[in-house]
């Protein structure tokens, strides 16, 4: 039974990964990136999210490794705190309260007890780089108010600040000048680009800066695509050389660890490696998919990573080979297709990378895969009119996918293409079946499949601005050489040449509703005869949908003038109407409910209602301040059981919606922490065991244990220690082999420790695993088992003592420590 709480609007997944530079751990095993209010820890090998560090109350703006302890991580946030984390275990160690908004964080190995942050103190657009002294104190929360000013009037972005030559100076760029502050001399030098006032070179303002790790060399990126390398000898004397390959703005620069090569990236989505700082020696990694926002280098020097504008992090080997991709929900483009649910994977489907559909798992907050729809080389250039994927629809239980792409350069030049994809069970993916050029003379406004359960022939309807709607059916195209199916046009319908704006099939597929501007027409789907028309003279129809289940006799239409109409199909009359400026209208596939989101000047409101009665079931005002663009009902795997009438609409499905700023929101009664815990805990356990031959023995054993663990959690029974917590096993696995006693000696202890203790209810499962005896003997073996347990109890202690006599003193200590280990934390789970 779920506790009845208030329904809240919750941000779910799809957080940005590319807000700041990602940071590698010292051993390059993990990569950290800021993601909203959290810091995410990913494995660089498996691309899995290992931990989510939550604790900040506002956007996290910077992360850096602790230079003094590479197993710790500093993070700063807009909430005015700097937090220190143990990222291996995902534990918050300390919080330093600074008190003002922090915009970026830098650490320096030379400045041991202080970090550098960007703050804005007086005016909103003036930023300062200050150093914060972190007091040494044992308490969890420490006030750190000791700020010392370093540089004034700098850029807000951390890309414009760089520390160089082992912390001798800090370089900052803004607009047309580069300022360098020397810590020892405490002086600031300014270098201005000589041609900055020259109007011809107006585009050479600085965009980013990077410092050579060991030499007095600063690289700066510019708007016009040039990279300048500054070598300075003292305050006044300097020279610079120019590297030019990018034709658009340089987005980020990074030196390799040794400083021999410089990495740069920009809108071309090509990573360029400049060797020896010369224009001739350069290597490329092209076609990275989207604009490179950030580049970072691992401290060990073996990996690079690039963050991209399509919410993606690519981990790249030293030899410029991409090795892993961490992909979040792609959000940098406008969503034309709306939100859809793939009936097979239950994944959320929407526009992804240019020309792709992305399949995004809501449960794991992870992109499952990208389907390349347009299949053409993407030219990343400013001002180009791209082919846009405008419509998509799933049909026949996920067996078919229809997509529409268009490109309109001028009013009269429209390129339109419809593609139909068939799901292939062998390859587990969609395969292009039919391509239709110019299915209509004008833009396609709506697309829907007939999803009736007993329809013998897949049917698709497209409505277009050219005043026609077309019915496409799947026909047999096979001959003696091959078996094939293809789609052909079956019927073309129109109504007084009005633009067709929406189309919708009834639940059983017997009726088709097509709206022509203000008029709704109902067609028989067998004979394609016009049955009747509805018109309310209340503006163009914006949304159209049939009621479902018991309400299938109703047809709902929302108009542009803010009227929601419900027609009864049996009496062919208006049942009711309401004044509601509907922006999104979505029927729930599992119930009669329909969700409508209305738009007002203050914000968006949600109404859930049944078509049979005009009174809404549930109203939530002010779900979002922005315009809500799309919404979708996602069927739940496990139905919830809200008893309160107002929440019953959430029992079978969950409602997700997307606002104009592309944040994906949903309704929930649980707190976000509660939702996240199960997955993160699982990952923790999995990480702790290496995949050795032992793992395969233990892994199976542990799975059983886990099941037990869950049971015990529910029933609050006796707790079992996890395998890795059994001292004998952990000792065997973690002690170096040359100090261990002989294997024959350890064997019995090891095997005994694997046996379950007597109290567990499921002792039966062991004999089943060990020997597959007949059932008759099972009772006997039970008793036997009991017997062995007793023996084990005694022998275990005896053996233990034996070992202690023979083992070294340190190990003796260790063993004792293990005995004292408190398992009470399991109860807290």
């Amino acid at each position: 039974m779920v506790e009845e709480e208030n329904i809240r609007v919750v941000r779910c997944g799809g957080s940005e990964l590319n807000f700041r530079r990602a940071v590698f751990s010292a051993d390059s095993k993990y990569i950290f990136c800021v993601s909203g209010d959290f810091v995410k820890v990913y494995s660089t090998v498996t691309e899995e999210c290992v931990h989510i560090l939550h604790g900040h109350r506002n956007l996290v703006t910077g992360i850096q490794l602790n230079p003094n302890n590479h197993l710790q991580l500093y993070s700063c946030s807009l909430d005015g705190t700097i937090k220190l984390w143990d990222y291996i275990d995902g534990i918050l160690i300390k919080t330093f309260i600074v008190g003002c908004k922090l915009h970026a964080l830098f650490t320096l190995a030379q400045a041991e007890d202080s970090v550098f942050v960007i703050v804005n103190k007086e005016k909103p657009d003036i930023f300062q780089l200050v150093s914060v002294k972190l007091p040494k104190s044992s308490s969890q929360e420490v006030e750190a108010k000791e700020l010392s000013f370093v540089l004034d009037y700098i850029n807000q972005s951390p890309k414009c600040i760089a520390f160089g030559n082992e912390g001798v100076y800090v370089a900052a760029v803004r607009e047309f000048y580069l300022s360098v502050y020397f810590f020892k001399k405490k002086t600031t030098s300014r270098f201005t680009l000589s041609s900055s006032r020259n109007k011809k070179h107006a585009k050479n303002n600085f965009t980013c800066v990077a410092c050579h790790p060991t030499e007095d060399c600063i690289a700066s990126g510019h708007m016009d695509g040039k990279i300048r390398l500054w070598n300075f000898y003292d305050d006044k004397k300097y020279t610079y050389t120019c590297l030019h390959w990018h034709h658009d703005m340089v987005m980020d620069l990074a030196f390799s660890v040794t400083g021999t090569s410089l990495l740069s990236g920009g809108r071309e989505s090509v990573l360029v490696e400049w060797r020896d700082a010369t224009e001739k020696n350069k290597e490329f990694l092209p076609r990275l998919g989207a604009t490179i926002e950030h580049i970072s280098v691992s401290p060990a020097g073996d990996l690079f990573c690039t963050s991209h504008s399509d919410n993606k992090i690519i981990i790249i080997h030293r030899n410029l080979e991409a090795s892993a991709v961490i992909q979040g929900l792609v959000k940098d483009r406008s969503i034309f297709t709306g939100l859809m649910i793939d009936p097979r994977t239950k994944a959320l489907v929407l526009n992804g990378k240019p020309g792709h559909l992305q399949f995004y798992s809501l449960q794991s907050d992870k992109q499952l895969y990208n389907l390349d729809i347009i299949q053409q080389e993407y030219i990343n250039d400013y001002g180009l009119i791209q082919i846009e994927l405008t419509k998509a629809a799933f049909g026949c239980f996920g067996n078919w996918l229809a997509t529409v792409e268009q490109r309109q350069e001028k009013e009269t030049e429209l390129e339109l293409q419809m593609k139909l994809w068939m799901y292939n069970k062998k390859t587990q993916g969609f395969i292009l079946n039919t391509k239709i050029n110019m299915p209509h003379e004008d833009c396609i406004t709506a697309l829907c499949f007939c999803n009736a359960e007993k329809s013998e022939q897949p049917t698709l309807v497209t409505a277009s601005k050219d005043g026609y709607f077309k019915v496409w059916i799947l026909t047999d195209d096979s001959d003696i050489y091959k078996k094939a199916v293809g789609w052909t046009c079956d019927f073309v319908g129109s109504y007084h040449k009005y633009q067709a704006t929406n189309c919708c099939f009834s639940e059983d597929g017997s009726l088709l509703a097509v709206s022509f501007e203000e008029i709704v027409t109902i067609w028989d789907s067998v004979t394609w005869e016009l049955k009747c028309t509805f018109c309310q003279r209340a503006g163009k129809i914006r949304h159209l949908c049939f009621g479902r289940l018991t309400c299938s006799k109703y047809l709902l239409g929302a108009t542009e003038n803010g009227i929601l109409c419900c027609w009864n199909l049996l009496s062919c009359a208006l049942e009711w109407n309401a004044k509601l400026n509907v922006r999104v209208m979505e029927p729930d596939p599992n119930s009669e409910n329909i969700a409508a989101i209305s738009q007002s000047s203050v914000g968006s409101d949600l109404f859930v209602f049944k078509p049979s009665e005009p009174r809404p079931l549930y109203i939530q005002k002010g779900i979002s301040r922005e315009k809500v663009q799309w919404g979708v009902f996602v069927p739940r795997d496990v139905p919830e059981s809200f008893t309160s009438e107002a929440y019953q609409w959430l029992n079978r499905s969950q409602f997700y919606f997307l606002t104009k700023s592309q944040s994906l929101l949903t309704f929930s009664t649980k707190s976000p922490e509660e939702k996240l815990t199960p997955t993160s805990k699982q990952l923790l356990a999995e990480e702790s065991l290496p995949t050795t031959p032992f793992y395969f023995i233990l892994g199976k054993h542990r799975q059983q244990q886990d099941e037990k663990l869950n049971e015990t959690l529910e029933n609050e029974l006796v707790q079992l220690p996890l395998t890795e917590n059994i001292p004998a096993i952990s000792e065997l696995l973690h002690t170096p082999a040359h100090v261990l006693p002989s294997a024959a000696f350890l064997c019995s202890m090891f095997v005994n420790s694997l046996l379950l203790s007597k109290e567990t209810k499921s002792a039966k499962e062991i004999p089943e695993d060990v020997d597959m005896e007949e059932e008759k003997e099972s009772e006997d073996s039970d008793e036997e088992n009991d017997f062995t347990e007793k023996v084990q109890d005694t022998s275990n202690t005896g053996l233990g003592e034996d070992i202690i006599h023979q083992l070294s003193k340190s190990e003796e200590k260790e063993l004792r420590k293990f005995r004292k280990i408190d398992y009470s934390w399991i109860a807290a789970l």
């Binding site: 076609r287 990275l288 998919g289 690519i314 991409a322 991709v325 299949q375 053409q376 080389e377 030219i379 250039d381 001002g383 180009l384 009119i385 082919i387 490109r407 350069e409 009269t412 030049e413 390129e415 050029n437 026609y468 001959d479 003696i480 050489y481 046009c489 019927f491 073309v492 319908g493 129109s494 109504y495 007084h496 040449k497 394609w528 016009l530």
Partner: protein, 517 residues
């Protein structure tokens, strides 16, 4: 990350016949050789033995033609009246023929006078055949009888009088020396066994039977009258399928050498090729006159068709050895390709596969490296523009999508610009290319307007283009007028009011082409 995606070349549906392996196979014949005979060619038969000569029965003569000879290499003309059904024996050394006067004559290929004459039929003998043991001859005549003759002593062995109308076709089993089949105008096909004195099987065809054919295995029987029907002999003569693809009487049947295809010739002047697995028509030939006889040479090397107007059409297969004559570049030896492929993985080895290299067309390689003008030059090459104009159009479209079409078209000299204009003139009026090419034409005019009048060649091309566009606009106007008229007619014919359901009228392409030149 992902590799370069090649330019999508727009494919257009090929109107008319689909290209299949069958159409390729059956179209791979040279233009037919026409030979004029004295009368309607009632039978063509190939000798089963090399050099695969064929006997043509027309009027009162039998001509033997060699494979490539246009003149008969031998003629049998000792017939008083029309000869019928000259058929070779399995060894190709004897020939038997029936005649209008009821006689059956046996010839030696090397001789001239008949070796044997079988007298016994009272009316015209339209069908004769050798049995599988080579020593007997079966004949069917218009006196409703079927007779079996012994060759050595030229005697009649058996007579079957079961048919009730003319017996016009027949054939002997190739496996069993005692079995043979005849078809008659009494609508039946009967199978006779020489060991018994009556028919062992009879099937009702439904129409007068003009031709019968037994499959080499003897399991299937094909009979042709108005329709072609296939019978399963092993199920006791059950109808397997009825082929109603001809719209006149089918006069002759023939199997391809592989046994996979069945050919039928008909009075509707068509030869149809069926697949013997699905019995669907896979190909069809057209001829000038009604077809009476049809034969295929060994390995389908030659198709010979005889027609009612006395024309014999002979088609030879194109020889495939021709391509070999070109001097071939020396390719790497086979062993270079398999180098390392047969290496067995050892225990500690880690196998690393080299990623397969994707083949890119030359224009794609240029586009990959952003050499736009070069890519355009490549596809404006005459071989490409004439053979595959859709590739040229697709590249122009791609350049336009990349926003560099004007750059690629600019800076061309007289020769190069005339290449482009030639292509435009040739293809501008094609509906499938028009949207892309009109745009390109506009860009060219914009670019080269300042230099117009400097080159008479280019000016001429521009004038030609202008004329073409004007003509096309007139044509479109006429089409629209016609469409208007048709709309009016449809409107008067329609009974229902209120809805305008338009069933797929092809409305040309109502695009207004405006090119100012």
């Amino acid at each position: 990350m992902a590799g370069y995606k090649p330019v999508a070349i727009q494919t257009y549906p090929i109107l008319g016949e689909k290209i299949t392996q069958d159409t390729l196979y059956w179209n791979n014949y040279k233009t037919p050789v026409q030979i004029k005979e004295f009368g309607a060619v009632s039978k063509v038969d190939f000798s089963p033995q090399p050099p695969y000569n064929y006997a043509v029965t027309a009027s009162s003569r039998i001509h033997i033609y060699g494979r490539y000879s246009q003149e008969p290499i031998k003629t049998f003309s000792r017939f008083k009246d029309t000869a019928y059904c000259a058929t070779f024996r399995q060894d190709g050394r004897l020939l038997v023929a029936g005649s209008e006067d009821g006689g059956v004559q046996l010839f030696d290929i090397s001789g001239r006078a008949p070796l044997r004459q079988f007298e016994g039929h009272t009316k015209a003998v339209h069908t004769v055949d050798f049995t599988a043991d080579k020593y007997h001859v079966v004949s069917g005549a218009d006196d409703y009888t079927v007779k079996l003759w012994d060759i050595p002593n030229s005697k009649e062995i058996l007579t079957f009088k079961e048919h009730s109308d003319y017996v016009r076709c027949g054939c002997a089993s190739k496996l069993n020396p005692d079995l043979f089949i005849t078809g008659s105008y009494d609508h039946t096909v009967k199978m006779f066994d020489a060991r018994t004195s009556e028919s062992v099987l009879s099937v009702e065809h439904g129409q007068p039977v003009e031709s019968v054919l037994l499959f080499p295995s003897g399991g299937l029987l094909v009979s042709a009258g108005r329709y072609v029907k296939v019978w399963d002999m092993l199920k006791g003569g059950q109808l397997l399928v009825s082929l109603k693809n001809h719209h006149k009487t089918v006069t002759c049947l023939c199997l391809s050498s592989s046994g996979q295809r069945l050919l039928s010739g008909s009075l509707d002047r068509k030869v149809k090729v069926y697949s013997t697995t699905s019995y669907k028509v896979v190909h069809s030939f057209d001829y000038a006159a009604s077809i009476l006889s049809l034969a295929l040479a060994h390995e389908d090397e030659t198709i010979v068709v005889g027609m009612t107007n006395g024309i014999l059409s002979v088609k030879h297969r194109k020889s495939e050895a021709k391509k070999e004559s070109l001097p071939r570049r020396r390719r790497p030896a086979y062993r270079t390709f398999i180098k390392g492929k047969n290496y067995m993985k050892q225990r500690d080895d880690i196998l690393i596969n080299r990623p397969a290299k994707k083949h890119l067309e030359l224009y794609d390689r240029d586009l990959k490296h952003f050499r736009i003008s070069k890519a355009l030059d490549r596809v404006l090459d005459p071989t490409c523009t004439i053979k595959t104009p859709e590739i040229t159009v697709s590249i122009i479209k791609e350049l336009n999508r990349r926003g560099v079409l004007a750059n690629a078209l600019a800076g061309r000299d007289e020769k190069e610009i005339s290449h482009v204009l030639n292509f435009l003139i040739r293809n501008l009026s094609q509906p499938r290319f028009a949207p892309v090419l009109i745009n390109a034409a506009e860009i060219i005019i914009d670019i080269y307007l300042p230099v117009i009048g400097q080159s008479p060649v280019v000016d001429k091309k521009f004038l030609l283009l202008q004329g073409l566009v004007e003509k096309e606009i007139d044509y479109q106007r006429e089409l629209l007028e016609t469409l208007g008229m048709m709309d009016m007619l449809f409107a008067t014919m329609r009974r229902k009011e209120g809805t305008s359901v338009l069933e797929h009228t092809s409305d040309g392409f109502p695009e207004n082409k405006k090119i100012e030149s």
